[in-house]
């Protein structure tokens, strides 16, 4: 047994000395291979007496198991060292920039349209629409602008050279023609908003020949001006995401009677406009009870049906909430402006996660 222990020490020393996996395998074959030193000793067991075998057998098995374990441990160690050596050569400079990825954005007008859609959806409105090139009837006459009336002049209308229904077609000066299309097309109760492009022949810092409006129309048998006030107050609080003090003032629109404008309280701090505080008033929406002539023009009886209408300037609401200083920039397709004032595609306005 003395020589077994010497053999173990000798082989273990060789295992420890193995420099790589190939050398280790050579040690393994020399010790445990078919003709290895340990295997030869195992073979000698057959010639031993049962007494001798009883002690030599377990000793040899123990030796073999110990060497197996030592080899496995050394193998793992060598493999780890080899992997480390390889990985050390595979270094990259992780401070190099990532691949450029263009960043998209949603235009503020679109965002605000969807914000308004989310708020009015919650109040039970559905979206209706109409074309940008309108008939004179839908844009004016049906809305109680009599032909030749000076109220038409105030609209700075763009006319087309082409005619529709026997009169020069107009670029709609407001989204109100959708009121007419809706009332002619469906029976009350009606609760719609209409959003889109509108046009007036006007151009300066706060007027562009094209702009956007959101129209609202409610027609049923009981909606009165108190509902109009409630609806618009709820809207501005939801839109500006804070309590906003409002003021209703009488005004005149041909297609509403009584007519009103609603102002919100604001102040100017430096270049910034702050809604909901201060001592000034800013008009944000024109509105009123739908004029009986308009209801009549759509084939309904104004003694039976009643309701309200309103019209917001979308671009202006966007400016008030998000602080763009100049309306003309909205339509310039300037990538810097679009990136700066635009919204991420995943900021989808809704009342659960917020409007923007």
């Amino acid at each position: 047994m003395q020589d077994l222990s010497a053999l173990q020490s000798d082989i273990e020393a060789r295992i420890a000395a193995a420099q790589d996996l190939r050398a280790l395998d050579e040690v393994r074959v020399a010790a445990l291979g078919k003709k290895g030193e340990v295997s030869l000793k195992m073979r000698e067991l057959g010639q031993m007496s049962p007494e001798e075998r009883k002690t030599a057998g377990p000793a040899l098995n123990a030796l073999r198991d110990a060497l197996d374990a030592a080899i496995a441990a050394k193998k793992a160690q060598l493999e780890a060292a080899e992997l480390e050596a390889r990985l050390a050569t595979e270094r990259v400079d992780v401070t190099l920039p990532a691949a450029p990825r263009p960043r998209g954005a949603i235009h503020p007008v679109t965002q605000v349209m969807e914000e308004m859609g989310a708020i009015f959806a919650d109040m039970g409105f559905v979206v209706a629409d109409g074309p940008d090139i309108e008939t004179d009837f839908n844009n004016f006459t049906a809305l109680n602008f009599p032909p030749g009336h000076p109220a038409r002049d105030a609209h700075d209308t763009f006319f087309m050279k082409a005619e529709l229904d026997g009169a020069p077609a107009v670029l709609r000066t407001h989204t109100s023609p959708v009121q007419i299309r809706t009332m002619l097309g469906q029976k009350p109760p009606i609760r719609i908003i209409a959003q889109g492009r509108t046009y007036r022949n006007d151009s300066d810092q706060t007027h562009t020949p094209m702009f956007h409006q959101t129209e609202g129309l409610v027609i049923d048998k009981g909606t009165h001006m108190g509902h109009l006030k409630g609806c618009l107050m709820e809207f501005v609080a939801a839109y500006f995401e804070r309590e906003v003090e409002v003021r209703f003032r009488p005004h005149h629109f041909p297609f509403t009677e009584p007519s009103a404008e609603m102002d919100v309280r604001y102040e100017r701090v430096g270049d910034e406009i702050r809604i909901g505080q201060g001592d000034k008033w800013m008009e944000v929406v024109g509105c009123g009870m739908v004029h009986p002539n308009v209801i009549r023009n759509c084939g309904l009886d104004p003694d039976e049906y009643q309701g309200f209408a309103f019209g917001f300037g979308i671009d202006r609401l966007a400016m008030l909430k998000y602080g763009m200083p100049d309306l003309r920039d909205f339509f310039a397709a300037d990538a810097r402006w679009l990136s700066h004032y635009g919204f991420p595609a995943l900021s989808m306005p809704n009342l659960a996660t917020g409007l923007s």
Binding site: V127, F158, K229, H252
Partner: protein, 791 residues
């Protein structure tokens, strides 16, 4: 419309300040635009006296004045020609803000001479347009008297008159509404008739009663024209009018005091009698503005025996106007049809106070009184003797009474207002009510032709009661199961969000463009705007690309050469219904992005991918689309295509034709896509949202690669479809993974390598079965394209 506080107080007994009056006006629907109170803007200014004025040593036009001021004796350099010793002036000390020139005064040296302060002109104080010299105060006011006192400067209120309320174009009409709204008490009008002493030597007839239903005329002889009184001149100046002479000033004054335009002819210049008739082609009129206008048969003309002497309701003639030498006058007080007046105004382009009032409708109840008032003022200021009034035509009837149920107030506004209060408001506004209880007949006054039905009365009552009284009521929530966005709106929304998520910037650009641009991009005729804002925006665009393509160059010039712009918006093919199309379009310059790993340039296939992305987001059946190289002429003929559903193009993509870019002055290449959202077939509404259960394949898919040699002209899509169609049950998908042309291949041939993914169903395929399927694929491709398997 501007007026002053003291002018208002001629009609309204009130102790309110200008700011308080403005607040009442705003809340009664008279939208105040500006209140200018000189007591505030003039607080720094005071009376001073010029003691001496000597020539400036170094400037011909300047004088060095010694001025006695509240701050002691000062030396002030002044450029006004009327600066001289002895006059009382308005003094602005150093540190004062001078509103008319927007300057805060500093101690200064003017051409080497010290000057401490300033002596002001009316324009510098915003009290008028007079800038010929400094203000000379009359009545020798004490030095140091506040300027606002010495000038008796009056607060001026400016407000917007809505087109339904011509009565607000006169101060009395404003006073009436203010009295109704509780701001004071309306003074009763006491107008004394002026006796006539003789028959007017000028007669009047009407040939066009539709255009001019009534014409009152009156002769006043022996007048002496000259400047009008100070108080009147001051009022006219305060509202921005220039005093001319007494006779002209009287007509201007009554236009603003009573919304009653008048005209005064110099009777000596009239030939014979006056007739109100329609114009005749070929006639011209030299009007008071010094310009000559061609008349036509739609215009109402006032003529004498020599021809036209005025455009009815718009402007008088220069040749018969009053001058300082006028001795006999003929006063016109008439009614002109609003629509015709508006048309004449538009056609001639004349903007006058008379037109502004007549086209909105003047008070038919104030013709006789207006004539009396005008006559009295002429005699008071200019003397003379009046004739009897001559009248042609009949004064139009007043407005019809309105049948009014008082409960309409509650029905339309929710306001609870007592019967007494309702009738009280109506009475204040000049209405009379007959009957009692719920149902009354309301007679609107002659100046309120806008009141024709009960909603109009409801507005008056709510307006005067005040909209603050309206109780805000939330809208009842309605049960609704359908989505609020229509399918087209939702499609546009999804396409937009998908493109933005894919790195495109959404722009919103003008719906109109240059007509040359529209033509270059395949625009149809018949879409021109008749009155464009500029030639750059003169026709309705065929596609959003009309602005996106030029915008790429604009951005590149400003350091953003890689901008990826898109827009979801309209393009037009015709003006009428169905001619407006919802288009999602995008464009980018074909310029390589520089990056250390290699950036690459956008190409045709990036555009195809973007178009497919938008189409899929919008719900188009993208797997049923066929690609064809058939984009219109303005695309690159070899590098563009359409994605078609049957015969219907749903999208186009590729490079824009270099010739088009050259004409648009844009450096190419430019790559673009257009998706025609309105051409996508409507989705089939399914009754339930449940999806069919997932059929998970139980076998591992097998991929087999094939390389074919095809004619270069043969579309790859044809080959891919043929391979995929060889066995629809087993073949899951076909992808192209390599293309090769050139050495080793005959001229005009392309090698295309495809990977066919085979999905066995139920049991694995044997090698023999797979071999059979491969043969089927090769045969199908050969049959469809003539391509052969590459050996």
């Amino acid at each position: 419309m501007k007026f002053t506080l003291s002018w208002l107080k001629d009609h309204l007994k009130t102790g309110k300040s200008a700011a308080e009056i403005a607040e009442v006006m705003t809340m009664a629907g008279l939208e105040v635009e500006d209140v200018r109170d000189p007591a505030q803007s003039l607080s720094a200014f005071s009376v001073a006296k010029v003691l001496a004025a000597n020539p400036h040593p170094d400037a011909d036009r300047l004088q060095v004045c010694t001025v006695e001021t509240k701050d002691g004796t000062k030396q002030i350099v002044c450029g006004a020609p009327n600066a001289r010793a002895g006059i009382s002036v308005v003094y602005a000390p150093v540190g004062a803000y001078v509103p008319g020139i927007d300057v805060t005064l500093k101690q200064a040296k003017i051409r080497g001479v010290e000057s401490a302060g300033m002596m002001c002109s009316a324009k510098e104080l915003e009290l008028g347009d007079d800038h010929d010299g400094i203000i000379e105060l009359s009545g020798d006011p004490a030095v140091g008297t506040p300027a606002v006192e010495a000038l008796s400067a009056d607060p001026v209120i400016d407000f917007e008159v809505t087109p339904n309320r011509p009565d607000w174009l006169g101060v009395r009409g404003i006073a009436r509404d203010l009295a109704a709204a509780g701001a004071g008490e309306l003074f009763t009008d006491t107008l004394n008739a002026v006796a006539g002493h003789y028959d007017s030597p000028v007669g009047v007839t009407i040939d066009a009663p539709d255009a001019c239903p009534v014409f009152l005329g009156r002769y006043v002889r022996g007048v002496k024209n000259g400047p009008s009184p100070d108080w009147l001149q001051k009022r006219l100046r305060a509202i921005g009018l220039r005093p001319i002479n007494a006779l002209v000033d009287i007509t201007n004054y009554l236009s603003y005091d009573r919304a009653r335009p008048l005209h005064v002819f110099d009777a000596a210049k009239l030939k014979g009698n006056i007739v109100a008739r329609l114009g005749r082609d070929g006639e011209t009129l030299l009007a008071l503005d010094g310009k000559s206008y061609a008349l036509d048969s739609d215009m109402c003309v006032i003529a004498d025996e020599s021809g036209p002497v005025g455009l009815g309701g718009v402007m008088g003639g220069e040749d018969t106007g009053c001058t300082d030498g006028t001795t006999d006058v003929f006063i016109e007080c008439a009614y002109f049809d609003p629509n015709r007046t508006a048309r004449t105004g538009r056609r001639t382009g004349i903007v006058s106070d008379a037109r502004y009032r007549f086209e909105r409708g003047v008070d038919t109840g104030f013709l006789v009184d207006g004539m009396e008032l005008a006559t009295a003022m002429v005699i008071e200021f200019c003397g003379g003797e009046a004739s009897h009034v001559v009248q042609a035509g009949e004064i139009p009837d007043g407005p019809a009474p309105v049948d009014f149920h008082l409960h309409e107030v509650r029905r339309l506004t929710g306001l609870e207002i007592s019967e007494k209060r309702i009738l009280d408001i109506l009475h204040h506004l000049g209405c009379s009510a007959a009957g009692s209880g719920e149902h009354v007949a309301v007679q609107p006054p002659t100046w309120r032709r806008d009141i024709v039905q009960s909603a109009d009365l409801v507005e008056e009552i709510a307006r005067i009661e005040g909209f603050d009284a309206l109780q805000a009521v939330p809208l009842a929530r309605e049960e609704r199961l359908a989505p609020i966005y229509s399918e087209p709106a939702e499609r546009a929304r999804r396409a937009r969000r998908a493109l933005a998520a894919d790195g495109w910037l959404e722009a919103v650009t003008w719906s109109f463009c240059k007509s040359e641009t529209a033509a270059l991009l395949g625009g149809e005729d018949g879409l021109d705007v008749a009155n464009p804002v500029s030639s750059e925006l003169s026709t309705m665009r065929p596609t959003p690309l009309a602005h996106l393509i030029p915008a790429l160059q604009w951005n590149a010039d400003r350091g953003a050469p890689h901008a990826r712009l898109f827009e979801v918006g309209p393009g037009w093919t015709a003006p009428g219904e169905g001619g407006q199309h919802a288009i999602a379009a995008g464009a980018v310059r074909g310029e390589a992005v520089r990056a250390w790993r290699g950036g690459g340039s956008p190409d045709v296939f990036d555009m195809k991918a973007a178009a497919l992305l938008a189409l899929e987001a919008a719900g188009a059946p993208v797997n049923s689309l066929q690609t064809a190289p058939d984009a219109p002429f303005w695309w690159h003929p070899g590098r563009s295509g359409s994605l078609n559903l049957g015969m219907n193009p749903l999208a186009r993509f590729g490079e824009i034709h270099p010739g088009v870019l050259r004409d648009l002055d844009v450096d190419g290449p430019v790559l673009a896509f257009e998706v025609f959202l309105d051409k996508i077939p409507p989705s089939k509404r399914k009754p339930a949202k449940t999806r069919p259960s997932l059929a998970k394949a139980d076998q591992t898919p097998v991929v087999r690669d094939f390389a074919f040699i095809k004619d270069a002209e043969t579309p790859a899509e044809t080959l891919v479809r043929a391979a995929a169609g060889a066995d629809k049950a087993l073949i899951d998908s076909v992808t192209v993974f390599d293309l090769y042309e050139g050495e080793g291949l005959p001229q005009g041939k392309t090698s295309i390598a495809i990977a066919v993914r085979i999905q066995p169903q139920g049991k694995a395929l044997t090698e023999a079965e797979l071999e059979g399927l491969s043969k089927k694929i090769v045969a199908a491709v050969e049959k469809a394209t003539g391509a052969t398997l590459r050996g």
